[in-house]
Structures are given as C-alpha cells and as structure tokens.
Amino acid sequence: MHIPDGYLSPQTYIPLYGVAAGFWAVAIRKIKKELSAKNVPYLGLASAFSFIIMMFNIPIPGGTTGHAVGAAFIALVLGPWAAVVTVSVVLIIQALVFGDGGITAIGANCVNMAVVMPFVAYAVFMLVRGRSTGNRRIFVAAFLAGYAGLFAAAAITALEFGIQPLVAAGADGKPLYAPYPLSIALPAMTIEHLFFGIFEGLVTALLVRYIHRSEPGSVYALREESREIAQ
C-alpha cells in the first residue's frame, strides 16, 4: 500500500502532506501529555514491530502481494495517537532509506496507514467491544478492528489513485500520474484487501490478547472504561 513517487499529482499529495502534518503535531502533543518516559520503549517496540510486519509479503490469487501494517494493534495497545507517530516514523524511514513508498507520497501514505487505519481500528474496536470484558468479545473486536482498519486504508489509497486521471490530466485528456481510474483502482484494492484484512485482523487480535494476558491493564483501548462512560 506504499504509494511510490509519480503516482500522485501535487494537487493530491500536497494537501495530504498538510493533513499528515496536522495529525503529527496533535499526536506529538497528546503523547507528551498522556505517555510518560517509561512508555518510550513501547513506542520503539511498536515501530520495530510495524516495520517488520510490513516485510512479510503475502501473495494472493491474481498474482499481487500485500502485507499487514500493524497500525491497528498499535492503536489498540498504545492508543491511536501513539500509532500515528510510530507508524509515521516507520513509513518515513521506509521511504527515505529504502525507497519503499515515494518521498512525495509520504504525507499520503501516512494519512492512509498512520492516521485512517489506527483511528478506524480504534473506533471499530470500541463499537464492537462495547462494555464487555469477556476475552472472546475482545478478541473478535480486535480482529474486526484490524480488518476494518486495513480495509479503510486500502479504500482511501484506492481513492487517491483513482482520482488522478480526473484531477491531473494533460491537455489531451490523458492521465499524467496514476493511469487507472476509480472504476479500476477501487475494486482492485478493496477486493484484495478483503483477503489481506484477515491477516491484519489475526495479527491484531492475537497480539492484543497476548499483551492483555501478559500485562493486564496495559492495553490502552481496554483502559478507556471511564472515558467511554463519560462520553
């Protein structure tokens, strides 16, 4: 899902940089307020985990590959704002050092995987879990959170690709950047992520369960009791 350089026009990637920067600013402030120095190791763990999980490319019928992102798991265990920062760090390093994702596309990739995904995952988890403390419900909620988060990221990415022929065409009407319209991009990305979502869901659910069991009380999304009721 890492958009390379050249696929997005400036009229797309510049505003997305703006959106990403806005979220980075808020996220850094929130993390300073909510997390203490002893949480930094967990942010480091989370970044490393996300980086590594993205290296496991999975082939699917049709001949393409995909990978999990880990943003949902981080959003649930450390909170969505922590996920914004940790996943963004990963994406920026991937682009700058490894050429995985374009430099112009850093804003877009961060919006897709480090903003949309964590927040959708977090919202879905809260919705599905409700007030339940049962392990089964938590597992299912985490699975669906990962699934929905990845799917949402894929859909937004497809949207960014698919509008290029519309927003950036030459005088002759031919696309200047990404060549495929929405009618191709949307089904292509969403259908295959219906499948990849299963991996993301499983990774999310299994890891949330592991952390919840080995360090009860440390899962951010499960500590929201009082705040949730207040809302």
């Binding site: 890492h2 490393a48 292509a188």
Partner: protein, 106 residues
C-alpha cells in the same frame, strides 16, 4: 523474564524470518502489490509509456538501500535476502537502542 524483553526477543525472531516475505511471493511467482509498480513494470502493463509526469517523477529519488537490498535493486539473490533480514534487524536494533536510552532518562 519481563514480558517486554520477551517482546523484543519475539521481534528478533520475526526479523530473522522476514526473508519469507521475499521467498514466498517468489515461489508463487507473485508480482508487486497493486499500485506499487516500478516504471518498467507499469510500461509493460500498459503496453506503452507510463503517464508523462509519472515517467518524470518516479525515479527522481534514489534511496540508499533501495527495496531493502544493499546490492541495489538487481543484486544477487542471496545478498538481497541477507540484506532484507539485515534491514529488519537494523531497524529493530536502532529502535532498541533508542528505547534503552530513553528508559535511562527517567
């Protein structure tokens, strides 16, 4: 063992397994992820040149370790695989060092 240390060790093991992310797609002859095609691949897909601005901008930036391969994009397969795991280990190591340093600053 503290569970956090267990997590780092788990991460280390995962890092060593990352070459599966190259080997498994190769085995199934799978291609790039949708939308992540190189200009060359895209030209092949389109049966002609890629869109004009894409051709201009796609290879503007040359990353130091392109596609996680120290030997460059078309390096020897063993180098690619070792480099892949090395990249994972490298990132994990840097994250670990930063985490340890931050932990000391309490």
């Amino acid at each position: 063992m503290k569970s956090r240390n267990k997590l780092w060790i788990g991460l280390l093991l995962l890092a060593l397994l990352t070459p599966l992310g190259i080997v498994i797609p190769e085995y199934f002859k799978a291609g790039d992820a949708w939308g992540e095609w190189s200009v060359e691949t895209l030209r092949a897909k389109l049966g002609g040149p890629a869109p004009a601005k894409l051709e201009e901008n796609a290879d503007r930036y040359r990353a130091p370790v392109p596609d996680y391969s120290i030997g460059g994009n078309n390096g020897n397969r063993t180098v690619r695989i070792v480099s892949y795991a090395g990249s994972a280990l490298g990132f994990a190591l840097v994250a670990y060092i930063i985490a340890k340093l931050a932990g000391k600053h309490e």
